[in-house]
Symmetry: C2
Subunit: 305 residues, 2 copies
């Protein structure tokens, strides 16, 4: 079982969905990732919060396998984001993004973290992601998340860091944009040629496509059909936490473990969306995770005669 | 192995996709359905064509297990449809629909067909679908396809016929519209309460969700990720042909056979989109079907430790 170094945003979110509205709840990519991954292994979080991120907010990390030595606290306000979801939860509008203390964030990896074998680079400026890689020593596996904003605005830097990445986790429209090809299979091959041999393409309510170098084929996992989806915020980061967390916990990256990691990621994400913010993850018990993985098996299994 | 009675349109299509354009090629729901289903069992097609549907066009049915005694030929022109697909093939615009001889179509089920155990009611006016059911005797299983046009314009008639249907095959936006609920799980339960206990929800490039009364759960099948998708026309009817065809060929409707039927339907559809019109289906060999079903197993399989 290997620990994970996770770098990314810790935030206060305000979210409006057809089912309700929450203001100033804890969010951020590194937060969702770390809480999800901590179900599987030890997580060392690197990020920054402002003076307003108090004891109450810090409680999401408490009693978990999350090491906070790399979480800086600086004067000023924590990163804030507000978003609103449409009727069917598939469309999202950003109302505002206030970087606040995140604007001058320079990831500083504590000495004790530099040899962490698994590294997760959350969705931040690609130059900062590169800074992190320059501070760690021979990681066994590097996973990276990014978004259309950086593909459009910092493509050269992103391509430089991708050369040093093993696993890229992005959504389908971002994959098409990065590869400049509308066909996902061809887009995947183009992206693999950029560096990351393992590619995870997130498709929201339609699940995940994962491909790896072994045989050039795909593994497809559906999303769990749910009666109650309250808030999709953080689903992608929670997926990443389950995916990388599972891989780090089993220590081997094989076709079989990557398939299981995809299912564990999908499982964690399926819980995250059932309530606002991190609320569902914070009450989640390991045996519920195991039970839902079995539900995924029933959801997808068939026998060929 | 039971035969299937298939009622629906036989047409000339004109199609434009980003990859090319074809005019006046053979199409129609009953055509795609019958060709796909004929890989599995005998199909008795009921429909109407005009005088312009000549020997060349009829060749798509030749050398297959398709009985044409119910395919009327009347004076006038065959049903014609023209559509154009957007860049990523997910959006489609209908340029024209000329019903022609289909406008006065009254399904007449030949006496010899009336006891056919499996019945497929392709996407036509719900009143005509009811006329078909009134002409058959105690079918073992009735499957029905419909579309948003009838949900919006002939809802009462549609609900009447749904009471006599075992399997409804529709796409996700139609399921939400019919059930008047944005959540697919809740929509599915509402639709099952309308009559059809087995519901197949098509999601295009995102695959299929199938649910059945056994345990209230879902079976999810992804679409096969393909490098070449030339023409999505007929994919849904081809899916239905593989789905109902497989069920009729194995004769039993169980959880296991419904799961396999979903995979066979997805397999047939994955071939249909690889070329224009029915071109790929017409050269398809049974061993290619078997091989792709195995690919679906590799695409979706995982082991829980």
């Amino acid at each position: 079982m290997d620990p994970i170094l996770a770098v990314g945003s810790v935030a206060f979110d305000s979210v409006k969905t057809p089912f309700g509205e929450k203001s100033r709840v804890v969010g951020g990519a590194a937060t969702y990732f770390s809480v999800a991954a901590s179900f599987f292994t030890d997580v060392r979080i690197v990020g920054v919060v402002g003076a307003d991120f108090g004891e109450e907010a810090m409680r999401v990390f408490g009693g978990r396998r999350i090491d906070l030595a790399g979480l800086e606290r600086v004067p000023g306000e924590t990163f804030r984001w507000k978003g609103e979801y449409g009727f069917d939860l598939n469309s999202r509008e950003t109302i505002y993004t206030h970087l606040n203390v995140f604007e001058k964030f320079q990831p500083k990896i504590p000495d004790a973290y530099r040899t962490t074998p698994f590294v997760f680079l959350g969705n931040i400026q690609p130059g900062l992601q590169m800074d992190v890689l320059n501070q760690v020593t021979a990681p066994r596996l590097v996973a990276l998340d990014t978004m259309n904003f950086w593909i459009a605005g910092a493509l050269d830097q992103l391509k430089q860091v991708l050369r040093r990445v093993d696993i890229l986790i992005i959504n389908d429209s971002e994959a098409r944009e990065l590869a400049e090809h509308p066909n996902l299979v061809k887009a995947a091959h183009r992206i693999q040629a950029m560096g990351p041999k393992i590619l995870v393409i997130k498709r929201g309510e339609h699940g995940v496509l994962m491909t790896r170098p072994d045989d050039g084929g795909f593994f497809a996992a559906p999303a769990m059909p749910l009666e109650t989806v309250f808030d999709p915020t953080g689903a992608g980061d929670t997926f990443a936490g389950g995916f990388v967390g599972y891989l780090a916990s089993c220590g081997e990256v094989t076709d079989a473990s990557l398939r299981r990691a995809t299912i564990y990621g999908s499982t964690m994400a399926s819980f995250a969306v059932e309530d606002f913010s991190l609320d569902r993850l914070l009450t989640l018990r390991p045996e519920e995770v195991t039970a839902r993985v079995s539900e995924f098996k029933r959801l997808t299994h068939f026998d060929v005669l």
